[in-house]
């Protein structure tokens, strides 16, 4: 079972290694981890997707909370958040296949961002499912390279992970 955690951390050197180290040390499985600064330059957000049962997620949450630079951990409730991922996919293809691939891209709202005689590079943003579907459809052509960002997540509606906390 996959769980998405939204984690606010102090934007300091070493935080990422503290967080990543915790996962390896305690034997938790990270599915993906994406980091970037928030609207507050002193605070970064990590979106972490964890694979495991309730007990594991509870431990991940508690252990993350113990790290001093971690300001807040929120396990996002299924159905109550939007999640999206970004990918760049380079496919091998000859010129006569371009049209087919462009059709697939259009179908899944991906765009072609680079073309060469022997390759096409597609860009897609969307749910994990949509990315997987695109990759699946492109596979027969020969995928040279896939670069995925890992999931980003934000809560639906007005609520935020930052709400009652942060810089006191």
């Amino acid at each position: 079972m996959k769980h998405t955690l939204s984690v606010l951390v102090e934007n300091q050197p070493g935080v990422l290694s503290k967080v990543a180290g915790l996962f390896s040390r305690r034997g938790f499985n990270i599915d993906s981890l994406a980091v970037g600064v928030t609207q507050d330059a002193d605070i970064s957000r990590m979106t972490i997707v964890v694979d495991g049962d309730e007990h594991i997620v509870e431990q991940v949450e508690k252990q993350l909370n113990k790290l001093i630079p971690v300001i807040k951990v929120k396990v996002l409730e299924p159905g109550m958040f939007l999640s999206s991922e970004h990918a760049l996919i380079k496919v091998t293809c000859r010129a006569k296949q371009h049209a087919e691939i462009m059709n697939i891209a259009e179908l899944l709202h991906a765009s072609i961002v680079d073309v060469s005689p022997a390759s096409l590079t597609l860009e897609i943003t969307g749910s994990e499912d949509r990315l997987n579907t695109l990759i699946g459809l492109l596979k027969p052509y020969g995928i040279k390279e896939v670069v995925r960002s890992g999931a980003l997540a934000i809560e639906k509606g007005a609520s935020t992970a930052l709400k009652q906390n942060a810089k006191a």
């Binding site: 951390v9 102090e10 070493g14 290694s17 503290k18 180290g21 040390r25 007990h55 509870e58 431990q59 508690k62 252990q63 909370n65 113990k66 790290l67 001093i68 630079p69 971690v70 300001i71 807040k72 906390n165 942060a166 810089k167 006191a168």
Partner: protein, 539 residues
Amino acid sequence: MISGAEIMVKCLEIEGVKTVFGYPGAAICPFYDFLCRSKIEHVLVREEQNAAHEASGYARAAGVPGVCVATSGPGATNLITGIATAYMDSVPLIAITGQVNQWLLGRDVFQEADITGACESFTKHSYLVKNAADLPRIFKEAFHIASTGRPGPVLIDVPTDVQKQMVASFSYPQKAQIPGYKPRTQGHAIQIRKAAEAISKAKRPLLCCGGGVVLAGARTEMIEFAEKTGIPIVSTMMGLGVVPMDSPVYLGMIGMHGHENANRAMHDADLILLCGARVGDRAVSDPQQVSDTTKIVHIDIDPAEIGKNMDVDIPIVGDIRLVLRALAAETDYTAPAEWIEHVKAEKAAFVPKGSPRDDYVEPRSFMRVLSRMMAKNAIFCADVGQNQIWAAKNFNVKEGRFLTSGGLGTMGYALPAAIGAKLAKPHRQVVCVCGDGSFQMSMCELATLKQTGADVKIILMVNERLGMVWELQTKLYDGRHTATTLTGSPDFVKLAEAYGIPATEVSSNAQAELAAKRMLESDGPFLLVCRVDPDEPTL
């Protein structure tokens, strides 16, 4: 203008640090240059690991963070086992290390070690200081983090150039402001009510006392709660000393090496209140066995401990002292007489092992005799191995303390911890017990003992083997004893005398008793070598 090094010393002074344990080197020299002009006492250890253990013993006895200092590279890496030991036992510790000049960081230059990285998994937090102006904030935060919530070690790594860097002025912050760190001390009222309700329904309730009770200074609350409700207490090894062994509410130590009657009480109970215990595998080898039908209330200041190793019905996050007080106010329960009688009968039926003999010192009966001879508030340090188990099960801690490396199980802990404890509490009797294996891991500290003049008595149980591992090999490896015979050990009496420390060797209980009496009455350090039957078991 003021240098980083001077700021570091000033911060320690403001934090009220009186003693630091350390070993110098080029990368920490600027700091030492100012330390030696300060009133802070510096104890020169003989190996850095012991600096951490000494600071740990100091911290545990004094109840304030202990401070240890080492130079960069090998000095810092030598601290690692001591830091990890403190982490596992939640001991507040500040480890200060020198680091190579900042512009050389990451280049594998002479004596560079990424110590903050290396200690990542067993420090509560760590700092690599990049600017001397940050030092006051960092020291303030470090002391705050180390000593609040669940205590633990904090590492401050300071490059040489930062120690030399001049900044305009010094001011120490009033408060540490760390957005992500707000330990909760007050237990949640609803949870406490739920626990009180569960207690009111319990037929066979039990209190299980862990090291967190000692750390929280909740001894009085624990005993009062047990006396008020009649609920009996068992303890983990780290919880030893909270309740005296002969107290009517106390049943004994649980776990793999614990008292059978205490383990049976854990098994028979229908409600267990775990207090500041992390339910390690040595204490409860199979949590499933207990948790099936038994209701578990778990009180701990560290939320991550709750439910980690055992399913919990009622979690309470908070300081045990405050929670027990609140819980006592919520309940007027009295434990059923039938249960009390049952556990008391089991305790009474428990026959302590060991008896006087005249060919060897029998360690269990000797431990009992020793604890009768020692001061009420004495501090007793046990090393790791059979000696630790004999002590844990037989030494009656009255109003004093029992210090041992219960979490990491670090051999060589007892002697340095005892030195630290003695320097923290010079007026209390301090005795340590070691095996001949563990003692040889820290015997260089005899020099520190001599140099400080600390009045620490050492009991050395010599069985010429790594007894506990030998015993394991006997039971689980068909008696194939590999690498557990200690040949080549020195004559320990002569060794002590070479340091100018008086010593005696004894090989019967009667001799041991007499010698122990003389030892306890003597001034200054003393080594008592006890010959123990090599086949003496712990179980």
